[in-house]
């Protein structure tokens, strides 16, 4: 009947839209992607049109995440058949080898892509991921630095490098990477806030003051960034409590901290409205802020 057909189609559209949103947001919710994607591929392939190819790619990568080699293999075969000789599909084959921990074979696969196309950034980045997977952090960092000398505008790479440095506790170099990102993305509140966190972690009065400035900047760009708000509170409180600062600086930071306290309490009260359970969070936050104020004065 016509009605059945319509509701069937709506279901398929919804599933397809979900997959597209997850693709656009770069969501790594692999189990859900496999759930939705597998059904689409198995039952509704004919209704997907040309979208099916990008869906095969998305589902294949998610399947690798979930150790569903059967599903990954199926997707890969379909893509190989449709796009013979494609570098993009070759890269997917390499990723499958990585998932199977066949790192040497995967590396060879990427090398063969690079032989045909030395500027293939995806293949180069996969090779660096292999180093990461093998725990070879120093090598991964070295290769990624070399990559960035050539591809200085690759933001994903700069961010990856900052994370590698943070894991090695090399906060100075992590800060440098985030500075690059802030320069090219001055309106991105997340980069500001992460930079502030790195500076805070580095420690010392100068870094604390820098961190407070960048937490404040992140808040200017997005006044709902709770990490930036808490960060402003923590950095200002620590500066105010530091015996080295003069009275003016101390007074200013006590003010910043007091402002942040207000904003934090407000944010918690707004969030806790109507839920009995969240009241414990509100209370705990109020008490925490009060107790820290005592140590500041």
């Amino acid at each position: 009947s016509v009605c059945k057909f319509i509701s069937y189609s709506v279901g398929v559209h919804k599933m397809r839209d979900k997959l597209r949103k997850w693709r656009e947001d770069n969501h790594r919710n692999s189990e859900q992607i496999v759930d939705v994607g597998e059904e689409l591929i198995n039952e509704h392939a004919s209704k997907l049109g040309d979208d099916i190819w990008i869906i095969y790619e998305q589902v294949m990568i998610a399947a690798l995440d979930c150790s569903r080699d059967d599903l990954a293999w199926t997707c890969l075969q379909e893509l190989k058949r449709q796009f013979p000789g494609s570098q993009r599909v070759k890269r997917l084959a390499g990723m499958r080898l990585e998932a199977l921990e066949k790192y040497e074979d995967a590396s060879k696969q990427y090398d063969s892509i690079l032989q045909d196309d030395p500027t293939n950034t995806a293949a180069r980045k996969r090779k660096i991921s292999i180093l990461k997977a093998q725990g070879k952090s120093a090598e991964a960092i070295r290769e990624l630095n070399e990559y960035l000398e050539q591809f200085v505008g690759d933001q994903e790479a700069w961010h990856e490098l900052s994370e590698l440095y943070i894991n090695e506790h090399d906060y100075g170099k992590a800060a440098f990477c985030l500075e690059e990102l802030m320069m090219t993305n001055p309106h991105n509140h997340l980069y500001c806030e992460q930079y502030a966190e790195v500076k805070y972690t580095q420690g010392g009065l100068e870094n604390l003051e820098l961190s407070r400035k960048y937490f404040a900047q992140a808040l200017k760009l997005n006044n709902r960034n709770m990490r930036a708000l808490f960060g402003l509170y923590m950095s200002a409180s620590h500066i105010a409590a530091c015996p080295k600062v003069n009275a003016t600086v101390k007074k200013a930071n006590v003010k910043y901290a007091a402002w942040a306290t207000n904003q934090i309490n407000r944010a918690y009260q707004l969030a806790g409205r109507g839920t009995k359970e969240n009241k414990c969070s509100v209370k705990a936050v109020e008490e925490m802020l009060e107790s820290m104020q005592i140590t500041m004065s």
Binding site: A133, I166, Y200, M226, F230, S281, A284, E287, M288
Partner: protein, 206 residues
């Protein structure tokens, strides 16, 4: 005198649910115990019961500010509930990497400042199965400024069979999708890091 920490089923299962929710990330969190009323000088070591687990972060762990916020906030919450922060757990990003790193040792030491019998717990993801056939933790105790490894077996649990049954059931039911860690809470303050829904599920299965 050796310390001995016992895991309540709810505490164990939340650690594993946290690791299961973010299989591609490092995760960490805290364990809380009931505050002991009095310390008897002549008693043999009374086991510390880890009654709950507060999942903290996933992804990049080694940054200070949010960790400080979490520690201070959870410490305040503990005081209200007559708990004490008794341990720290971490699962590394790479499955095969189950040894504690410098960061884990630092946080563990910080917790040990306030609670001398604090334990540092590493999750061994190589042995992680849906059936939860064996405990997959390694426990480290703080002795003379060093961390000493202790094996974790069924004796480390209040009731291992119960812990196994509950954890396995919640993994099968994909409860980890609704697990809230402190990172989730910072993304949206309405997300409750005490995980009342999961606590309810655990009680139902007890």
């Amino acid at each position: 005198l050796s310390y001995f920490c016992l895991f309540h089923s709810g505490a164990y299962c939340k650690m594993l649910l946290h690791a299961a929710k973010y299989p591609h990330c490092a995760v960490n969190g805290l364990l809380v115990a009931e505050k002991q009323k009095e310390k008897k000088k002549d008693s043999h070591s009374t086991p510390i019961l880890c009654v709950d687990c507060i999942p903290l972060f996933h992804g990049t762990l080694a940054l200070a500010p949010m960790l400080e916020v979490a520690l201070t906030l959870i410490d305040t919450w503990c005081k209200e509930n007559k708990y004490v922060i008794a341990g720290y757990y971490q699962a590394n990003e790479r499955t095969k990497d189950f040894r504690p790193n410098q960061f884990a040792e630092k946080v563990g030491a910080r917790i040990a400042e306030n609670f001398s019998e604090a334990a540092m717990i590493m999750v061994d993801s190589t042995r992680f199965t849906m059936g939860c056939y064996e405990p997959i933790l390694t426990i480290y105790d703080h002795h003379e400024n060093k961390w000493k490894c202790r094996d974790c077996n069924a004796d480390c649990f209040e009731d291992w069979c119960e812990a196994q049954k509950i954890t396995s059931a919640l993994l099968e039911g994909r409860s980890y999708e609704s697990l809230i860690d402190f990172d989730n809470h910072l993304d949206d303050l309405r997300n409750d890091w005490t995980n009342p829904e999961i606590n309810k599920s655990v009680l139902h299965l007890c």
